[in-house]
Every structure is written in structure tokens, then in C-alpha cells.
């Protein structure tokens, strides 16, 4: 009998019992999965992307399966920050697991305002800034595909909150390291990568795009190699802790991300395959550590010999 391995990780001033979180938009506000797993077994819950005002999202259909993945064009539907505080926080308060709130804005000012409101909430362990959104004031250029725009968003958020600021990067860029560096320059505390890749599905029968929105975000196992590559590139170039995301469905996937340089991981689409995917991953990581005589999971972070 080996002794219980140390699964805890810390970064950006956050202390997690283990490195496994749920990814924004795939886990609702936690409560939806409460009947299917123990929310207190995972490292953190990341909630659905919030905006200042409630957002309607896109028309239907919004999701479609693709080979080894899925496209979603939810369109960031959410209840808005006020309803989040009144309707969602009370449940989350009862769960002894850190809550990280993902949010976005249509303008710099909105980012700043939401960050300010979140700053006031003791239940929020950290904020995760989704910068994969078009800047409606500047011709719809996506904040997360332009280093300068990313820099200003992060600066704005940084100035509005003393909570740890995690920036979630878009993979739809030529140079992910450049984006990561811009966020580091703007004093982000950590980086999450990756968000979804822009894709499309075609409905041959009706000769239409399958999704009402035409394009959607690709997630799931299909994107894992791209996510791993980006985590690895960024971890070697930028001195910020990284949360690895993209196609993680089991403990092996999660451990691969740690080796590639991630301090923690998020589980997204896999929650749809198995509602307790995140909890199982925690359990299986622990089993792996035991079986391989690894006393502290932190030994694995960035341990890839390349």
C-alpha cells in the first residue's frame, strides 16, 4: 500500500485539491451535474460564459456531431451577471469547490464592468476571460485573434479586479505564443488554452449549413493534438501557469497535458459523453500516480523530455 499521492496544485494564488476542472459552457452552473457526480471531488468548477446583460444566443440548430468532435454555436447564451448572482451563486455557495467564472464582453468597457462586478463576489475564486469574442465597436474583429486587442482587454480586466485573472485563448491564430505573450504583458495571472476552433458542417440534403449560425466552435477529442501542441509551445515560451483544455476524455489525456506544461486541465465535451467524466479523471489520475509510485502530481507538470 502506497501512501496517498499529493494531487493538489496551486497557481495564480489559487489552491486546488486536484488539477481537474470543468470547462466553461459544458457544465452549466454546476447544479445540472450534481445528481450524476460528486462536485466536491474535482478541482474547480468553471461556469458558463457570463455577460453584463442576458444574452439570447443563436437560433437552432446549435450543435452537431462531427468526426471525433462536435460543433457548437450556442452564441454565448447566458443569464447575465445579475441573474447569475441571484440564481446561480446560492447553489454554488453550498459546494465546497472553488468556482471560476468565465465571462466576456462585446466591448472593452463591458469586460471591465463584468470583471468589476465579479470582483465583489467572495464566492468567485478567479475569473476566466473569454477573449474569443468579436469587438462590436471595432468592426467585429475578435479580441482573441489580435495581440493588441487582447492586451487591452486583459489590461482592462486586470484593473477592475484583484482576483486572479485567467485569460482563455482562441486557437484560431497563426501564432499562439504571440497571443500568450500579449496577455502576459498585460499582467494576466494564468492562461487557459484552448477554446474551440472555428468549423462548419454542411447539410447535404437541404444544401444548407447545418448550424443556423453557419459556423461553430469545434471541440472534443478531434482537437486534442492541436491543443497539446499549443500548450506545449506556450509553456516553453511564456512564464505563466497554463490550464490545458481540448479533447480531454480520460486520465491519460489529462496527464499528457500536464507533461506538455499545463498546471491544470479542464474537461469540456467529455462531460456530454459521461456526466461524471471529470470525477472519473480525478480518480484515474490518482490511480495512475499510485501505480507508478509518483508521490506528487506536480512532478509531472512540464516533465516532457523534448
Amino acid at each position: 500500500m502506497k501512501k496517498k499521492p499529493d494531487m493538489s496544485v496551486q497557481f495564480a494564488g489559487i489552491q486546488l485539491r486536484n488539477p481537474v476542472m470543468t470547462a466553461s459552457g459544458t457544465f452549466g452552473y454546476g447544479k445540472e451535474f450534481a445528481g450524476y457526480m460528486d462536485l466536491e471531488k474535482i478541482g474547480a468548477i468553471v461556469t458558463k460564459g457570463l455577460s453584463l446583460k442576458p444574452k439570447a444566443g443563436n437560433p437552432m440548430p446549435r450543435i452537431v456531431e462531427t468526426p471525433g468532435g462536435m460543433l457548437n454555436a450556442i452564441g454565448l447564451q447566458n443569464v447575465g451577471i445579475d441573474a447569475f448572482i441571484s440564481e446561480k451563486i446560492p447553489f454554488l455557495r453550498t459546494v465546497n469547490t472553488p468556482v471560476i467564472v468565465n465571462f466576456f464582453g462585446n466591448t472593452l468597457e463591458e469586460y471591465e464592468e463584468v470583471a468589476g462586478k465579479l470582483d465583489a463576489l467572495p464566492e468567485v475564486a478567479a475569473v476566466e476571460v473569454n477573449i474569443s469574442c468579436p469587438n462590436v465597436k471595432h468592426g467585429g474583429i475578435v479580441f482573441g485573434t489580435d495581440p493588441k486587442a487582447a492586451f487591452s482587454v486583459v489590461k482592462a480586466v486586470r484593473s477592475a479586479t484583484i482576483k486572479p485573472v485567467i485569460v482563455k485563448l482562441s486557437p484560431n491564430v497563426t501564432d499562439i505564443v504571440e497571443m500568450a505573450a500579449a496577455c502576459a504583458d498585460a499582467d494576466a495571472d494564468a492562461l487557459s488554452l484552448i477554446n474551440t476552433l472555428t468549423g462548419m458542417a454542411v447539410d447535404l440534403k437541404n444544401r444548407k449549413p447545418y448550424l443556423a449560425n453557419c459556423t461553430g466552435g469545434l471541440s472534443g477529442p478531434a482537437i486534442k493534438p492541436i491543443a497539446l501542441r499549443m500548450v506545449w509551445q506556450v509553456s516553453r515560451a511564456v512564464q505563466l501557469p497554463i490550464i490545458g483544455i481540448g479533447g480531454i476524455t480520460n486520465a491519460i489525456d489529462a496527464l499528457e497535458f500536464l507533461l506538455a506544461g499545463a498546471t491544470a486541465v479542464q474537461v469540456g465535451t467529455a462531460n456530454f459523453m459521461t456526466p461524471d467524466a471529470s470525477q472519473r479523471i480525478v480518480e484515474d489520475i490518482e490511480k495512475y500516480l499510485r501505480e507508478n509510485g509518483i508521490e506528487d502530481i506536480k512532478e509531472l507538470i512540464g516533465a516532457l523530455r523534448a
Partner: protein
């Protein structure tokens, strides 16, 4: 619930349609008609997502081998349309699948004395069958079954065996009257009287027609909707439908999985 389930039997009941019986924990007996399950038909990533299916029936049976305890089951009536349902149709007894459910809200089962008109097409008969099984014997339950061709008309025997008056219509007239099932329903609505509710499940155009009919006749109508689903538990917002008051500025989206799949037709926007 989330459980591993063993295939008990899996038979083709009409060309392209199969009925599968799956073992389930005891609590399956509490499932309500109109609820559904999400099935993972095999391990791996192909298919990636679960597939939603209405509950056709639940019950208890004694396995063939001696001294084994009685087991509970869940039945799904499904149409083979794509990858997931093809794989499902090739499962043998003793194979395993992974089931999440029962999910969503069932039909509002109403007062015993209310006349209940069930309207369905294709695999939409599944939840109606479960409903009928529970309400068989109550006054004035009738079934209206539509389909393109004879082969698409399911469950007639089952309904008749339950002693339910059953009306059939097919597009090509190969079974029952020729035309839409909504025409048959309309005749009924025009002749009948007393308190009545329509329970409908089937293709979207049919539901739309039924909802319109009920609105015109001022009678209650519950519809069970379909939508592409990822999570089935209200988390991904992939499966929404527009509520009555929906507008771009004041969105009123409801989750088919969590707020439905059964809705009061009057609560939805039929634009």
C-alpha cells in the same frame, strides 16, 4: 440516473424500426411518460455523443435462467436513421450500453375524466405508448396514428390490445385513411365535446399542425419536441426552443432537454 445496461432483446418491429429492451435499476419504474433517456451506444469516440430516445415502456421481468432475481427494464422504440441507431440495431442480447435518464419532464397526465387524444407519427409513438399503457381503461382515451406508408405506422396492435380506439392515416393510403393524421384528428375535434387534451409527439410539421388545430378549438395540447442534444441535462444550451414571449431583445429560450421535452403548446412560439 446513470447506469450500465444490458441488452435483453432487440427486435425489428416494422421495416426500419426496432424495439430494444434494456435492464435498468428499480427506480426506472418511477419514470413518467414523455421522459427520455440518453444512450451511449458504444465505447470510444464514434459516435461521440449520446442519442436521445423517448421511453416506450418500463417494467419488470424474470430472466430465463433459473433462480435469477427479477429484473427491471426500459424499452425504446427506435427508427434506424444514422450511425448511432444503426449501431444500436446491431446489438445482441447481453451486449452493454450506457444510459443516462430518465431525463426531462413528462406529460402533464391531467384529470382521469378528461378525454385524452394521443396523436403521433413514427417513433413519436414511443412516449404515447408509455402514456397509453398507464392510462388504458380511463374514459375516452383515443389514439391517432399517422405515417408516410404502412411501415411507418407503429403500435396499432399495442394500442388496440390496450383497448384504445385507434385511428390511422397514411400519406399513401396503404393503411387507414389516406391523408394526414391531423385531418382525422380534426374530424374528431369537430364532433366531440367535453373536456379534452391532446398529447402529440412526432415530426415538427405535424406538431405545428396539431398545435394550431388545438388552439383553434380551444383545447389543451401538450407536445413532445425533438432537438439535437449534447448534455441532456440543461447545461450546454444546445437544444433550446423559443418560448411564447421570445424576441431578439428579450429572449425566451427553453431547453428541450430540461424544460421539456414535453411543453404546453400554448407556451411555445410557433413562428
Amino acid at each position: 440516473m446513470h447506469f450500465k445496461s444490458m441488452v435483453v432483446s432487440n427486435i425489428e418491429v416494422s421495416p426500419g424500426y426496432c424495439l430494444i429492451r434494456l435492464t435498468a435499476p428499480r427506480q426506472i419504474l418511477d419514470a413518467r411518460p414523455g421522459q427520455f433517456v440518453m444512450v451511449r451506444v458504444q465505447d470510444g469516440i464514434d459516435p461521440l455523443l449520446r442519442r436521445p430516445f423517448g421511453i416506450f415502456d418500463v417494467g419488470t421481468f424474470s430472466p430465463e435462467y433459473p433462480e435469477s432475481p427479477r429484473q427491471h427494464y426500459l424499452e425504446i422504440l427506435y427508427k434506424i436513421v444514422g450511425k448511432g441507431t444503426s449501431i444500436l440495431s446491431m446489438l445482441h442480447s447481453r451486449d452493454y450500453v450506457d444510459v443516462l435518464g430518465p431525463l426531462g419532464n413528462g406529460f402533464d397526465e391531467g384529470e382521469p375524466e378528461t378525454e385524452k387524444l394521443l396523436v403521433g407519427g413514427g417513433f413519436g409513438l414511443a412516449p404515447l405508448h408509455f402514456f397509453a399503457r398507464k392510462h388504458a381503461g380511463t374514459a375516452g382515451i383515443k389514439a391517432f396514428i399517422g405515417g408516410k406508408r404502412k411501415e411507418d405506422v407503429l403500435c396499432v396492435t399495442e394500442f388496440e390490445r390496450l383497448g384504445i380506439d385507434t385511428y390511422v392515416a397514411t400519406d399513401d393510403g396503404t393503411l387507414g385513411s389516406r391523408g394526414l393524421v391531423t385531418s382525422v384528428l380534426e374530424e374528431q375535434l369537430e364532433t366531440g365535446f367535453g373536456s379534452r387534451t391532446v398529447y402529440a409527439c412526432g415530426p415538427e410539421p405535424m406538431l405545428r399542425a396539431v398545435a394550431g388545430l388545438c388552439k383553434r378549438h380551444g383545447i389543451g395540447c401538450q407536445v413532445s419536441l425533438e432537438a439535437n442534444m449534447a448534455c441532456g441535462v440543461g447545461a450546454c444550451l444546445g437544444c433550446v426552443t423559443k418560448g411564447r414571449s421570445h424576441s431578439e431583445s428579450a429572449p425566451d429560450y427553453r431547453c428541450v432537454c430540461k424544460d421539456g421535452p414535453v411543453f404546453d403548446a400554448a407556451e411555445l412560439l410557433w413562428d
